[in-house]
């Protein structure tokens, strides 16, 4: 199955965006983001702390719905999912 990862703002600059990855069934959302972010150390460090947990300001969405980062390790991704990862918003 495939899942699309979208990074925004600073994360996009470091890691790119609209990254489609093939993943096995029952892949955890946290592990998936870690795998993709590992392509660039600065990008990985911007999103994850030294223990491999999401930094507290990181915002996650699964198919347009916000998801607590603390829940992410338990959440599985499904075929066709769109996962968005971004820093605090600053519109207006």
């Amino acid at each position: 199955m495939t899942v699309k990862i979208r990074f925004f703002a600073r994360f996009r600059e470091l890691l790119g965006t609209d990254i489609v990855v093939a993943v096995p069934k029952n892949k955890g959302l946290s592990d998936l983001v870690k795998d993709v972010a590992s392509r660039n150390k600065e990008g990985y460090d911007a999103i994850f702390d030294e223990k491999g947990a999401f930094r507290e300001f990181v915002i996650l969405m699964q198919n347009g719905k916000r998801l607590e980062t603390s829940d992410a390790p338990k959440v599985k991704v499904a075929d066709g999912d769109e996962i968005a990862v971004f820093p605090p918003v600053a519109g207006g």
């Binding site: 925004f8 507290e56 347009g64 916000r66 820093p87 605090p88 918003v89 600053a90 519109g91």
Partner: protein
Amino acid sequence: MIAIQTGDVDIGKLVNEAKQQGTGAIVVFDGIVRDDDIREMELEAYEEVALPELEKIASEAKKTYNLLSVDIIHRIGRLAVGENILIIVVSAGHRKQAYEGSRYIIETIKAGVPIWKKELTKDGGRWVPGEHQHGCGAGK
């Protein structure tokens, strides 16, 4: 009109169109690129999420503050100092509703709509930090 777009809008036209039967007050909020020693500002949005969130904010503001009309136009792309970033036009029967509704809309946008700004300076650029660290506003 609720939109995320690169182009500017005719605010005068929006004001004219906001005058409906029963209108006693129109409030215009116009957020502008400030000259903070920057060359330009670059804005980006998660449009597929941000646009429905703007629509939801407009609808909630209409209901809560008895607004007669709401326009929200958030611009993205590169904008020069002095250009409009965000235009909010609300009409209501009375000024209190119009002021409060407009304030609710801008604060709710800032709290949670996935849009980001980068200030481009002569030395490079810096992302504007969000005022709300967890982006816990609209759409949650």
